[in-house]
Amino acid sequence: MLETLSNLGLGFSVALSPPILMYAFVGCLVGTLVGVLPGVGPLAGISLLLPATFGLDATRAIVMLAGIYYGAMYGGSTTSILMRIPGEAASVMTCIDGYAMARKGRAGAALAIAAVGSYIAGTASVVGLMLLAPPLADFALRFGPPEHLALLLLGLLVLAYMSSGSMLKSLAMAAFGLLLGMVGIDQMSGYFRFAYGVVELGDGLGVVPVAVGLFGVAEILATAGQPTAPKVIKPRLRELLPSRQEWRESIAPIGRGTVLGFLVGILPGSAHIISSFVSYAVEKRVSRHPEQFGHGAVAGVAGPESANNAATSGAMVPMLALGVPSGPIPAVMLAAMMVHGVSPGPLLIQQQPALFWGFIASMYVGNVVLLVLNLPLVGLFVNILRVPYPYLYPAILVFSILGVYAVNGSVVDVWIMLLMGVLGWVLRKLDFETAPIVLGVVLAPLIELSMRQSLAMSDGSYMIFLTRPIAVVLLAVGAVLVLMNLYTFLGRRLDWRARLAMAEKGEEAP
C-alpha cells in the first residue's frame, strides 16, 4: 500500500506539472465537445484527434487522449438530458429519465446530478484501477503464447456474448475483423497477403481509418438525410443546484453505479452501454417507487451516468495491465499508445512508472477538470447543439478525412475509411454490430502470432491449449459463454441482452 501511495506521489508530480495539466484540460474540453455532438462518440473522437497528438511526447499525448475519452463520456449526458438524443451510445438510458426531468423544468438539476455522479464514479473507479492493475500485470507475466491466445479468444467471445445483438452475428463480425487484420505483410514469413498490389497496404489496415469509417462516416451516412432539428431545452444556470431531496435520492444510485460500472468495465464488451443498462435495471428493481422511472426519476439519471463513467476506468485495467483491449475504444487507445512508442502490458508499470502513474494521477485531475468545466459551460455546449445538422455534418466529415489522412499522409487510408463507412452503414441496416470488426483488426496480429508460436512450441499439437492450467480456465470460461448463449437461443428466451437491444432501439420488452 505504501508503495502504491509513493508511486501515486510520483504520478501526481507528473500530472500536476503545468504542461500535463494543460493537455488534460484540453483533452477534457475537446472530449466534452465530442460527447455533446450527436454521432461523434468517444471512439470516433479519439480516432479523429489522434494525429493532433503526433507532435507531443508520449505522456502528454496519452493524458490528452484519455481526457478526450472520459470527457466524451461526460458530454454524452448533455444531449441525452436536453434533447433526448444520446451523444454517444452509453447515454441511451440517461435519455429516459434525464429528458423527463428536463421537461419538468429540472434540466439543470439533472445535468448537475449527472456531472457529480460522473465525478464521484470517475474518481472512485480510478482508485480501483490503481489497486487492481499492478497485481494483474504481475500475474500476466506468467503468460506464454498459449495463455495469451486463450485470453484474446476469451476477449472476443465475451465481446460477442455481451453485445446486444446475436452472438453468432457478432462472432461473424469478429472473424471478418480478424481477416481484415490479416491484410499486409506476414510478420513471420514476409509474404504479402490480400494487398492486391497496393504497396501502402503492406503495413496492414490502420485501426484509425477502420474505426472512423465504421463509426464516424457510417453515422453521418445514416443520419444526414433524416429530417432533424429536434428541440433543445436550455437550462438556466440558477437552476443547476439540485434540491436536498434530489441529492438524497441520488447518493445510493451513484454508489451502486460506481461499483457496478467498474466491474462491468473490466469485462470485454461494450462496457459503457452495458453498465448503464444494468445500472438502470438495478435502480428500477431496488427503488421504492419504480413507477417513477420513465417519468423523471433521479435514480434513473444518477445510476447509469455513474456506471458508464466508472466503466471508463474499468476498461483501462485489462488494457494497461495485460495489453488486451476490452472493447473498440480501448483498442483505439492501445493503437494510439503504440503510435507513441508505448507498449501497454505487464511490463509497462515496471519499465515506464512515470508514464503509468502520471496517467493514473491525470485521471484524478481530469475528473476535477470535467466537473469544473461541465456545469458552468453547459450554456456553450447547448449552443453548439443548435448548429443545424446540414452545417455540422460536413464539418465532422472534414475532421474525419483530416484525421485519417494525417496519420500516414496517405490517400489510401481515406479510401479505406470511405469503404468502411459504406460497409458500416450497410451493416447497421442489416442489424449487425460493427464494434467486433474494430477489435478484430487490432487483435489479429496478436492472435496470429500467439497461435503460430503456440503450435511451434507444441510441434503442431492443439493439446497445448488443454494442458496449461491458465489457458484451460480461460477457454473453459469462453465455452461456458457459448453454451449460455445456446441455452437462451434454443429456449427462445428473452434475456438481458435482448432487452438491451430493444432499449437501444427504443422498443418496449413484451
Partner: protein, 148 residues
C-alpha cells in the same frame, strides 16, 4: 429475402474469396508445427463461412431487406461521392481547395442552403482546419497549384 440471409450469404461468399485468394496467391499453408502465412486466414475463413451459413439457416425470421429503411440512400450516395472526390483531388488540388469545393457542394447543393452561407462555411472550415492542423499542430497537409 431477409437481411440475415443476404448478409450471411455475403459473408460465406467472402470466406470463399479468401480461400481462393490464398490459393491464387500461392500463400503457403505450412504444417501444423510450422504454420504458413495462409494458415490463420484459412482458419478464419472457415469460421466465417460456417457463421455465414448458420446466419442464413436461422435468418428466416429476420426483417426483409426492403424493410430495413433505405430512404436516405440518395443523400448517402452524395456524401460518398463527395468523399471519393476528396480522396482523388486532395493531393492534386491541395487540401484547402478540395475542402472548399467538397463542403460547398455538400452544404450548397446537397443540403440546398443559401450559396453565400455555403461558401462562407466551406471557406471557413477549409482555412480554419488548415491553420489548426498544418500551421499550429505541424501536421503537413497537401498544397495544390499556387500553394493553396
Amino acid at each position: 429475402m431477409t437481411t440475415d440471409r443476404v448478409a450471411g450469404g455475403a459473408l460465406a461468399l467472402l470466406a470463399l474469396v479468401v480461400v481462393e485468394e490464398c490459393w491464387r496467391g500461392r500463400l503457403p499453408f505450412g504444417t501444423l508445427a510450422v504454420p504458413g502465412p495462409a494458415y490463420v486466414p484459412i482458419l478464419l475463413a472457415t469460421v466465417l463461412f460456417a457463421s455465414g451459413i448458420l446466419i442464413v439457416a436461422f435468418g428466416r425470421g429476420a426483417p426483409a431487406v426492403g424493410a430495413a429503411g433505405w430512404s436516405e440512400w440518395r443523400h448517402s450516395l452524395a456524401i460518398v461521392a463527395t468523399c471519393a472526390f476528396v480522396a482523388l483531388a486532395i493531393e492534386r488540388l491541395g487540401y484547402r481547395s478540395t475542402i472548399v469545393i467538397a463542403c460547398g457542394f455538400l452544404i450548397g447543393v446537397v443540403e440546398r442552403r443559401h450559396p453565400v452561407a455555403a461558401a462562407l462555411v466551406a471557406i471557413g472550415l477549409a482555412t480554419g482546419t488548415y491553420y489548426l492542423f498544418d500551421t499550429l499542430l505541424r501536421v503537413q497537409l497537401p498544397r495544390g497549384p499556387f500553394g493553396l
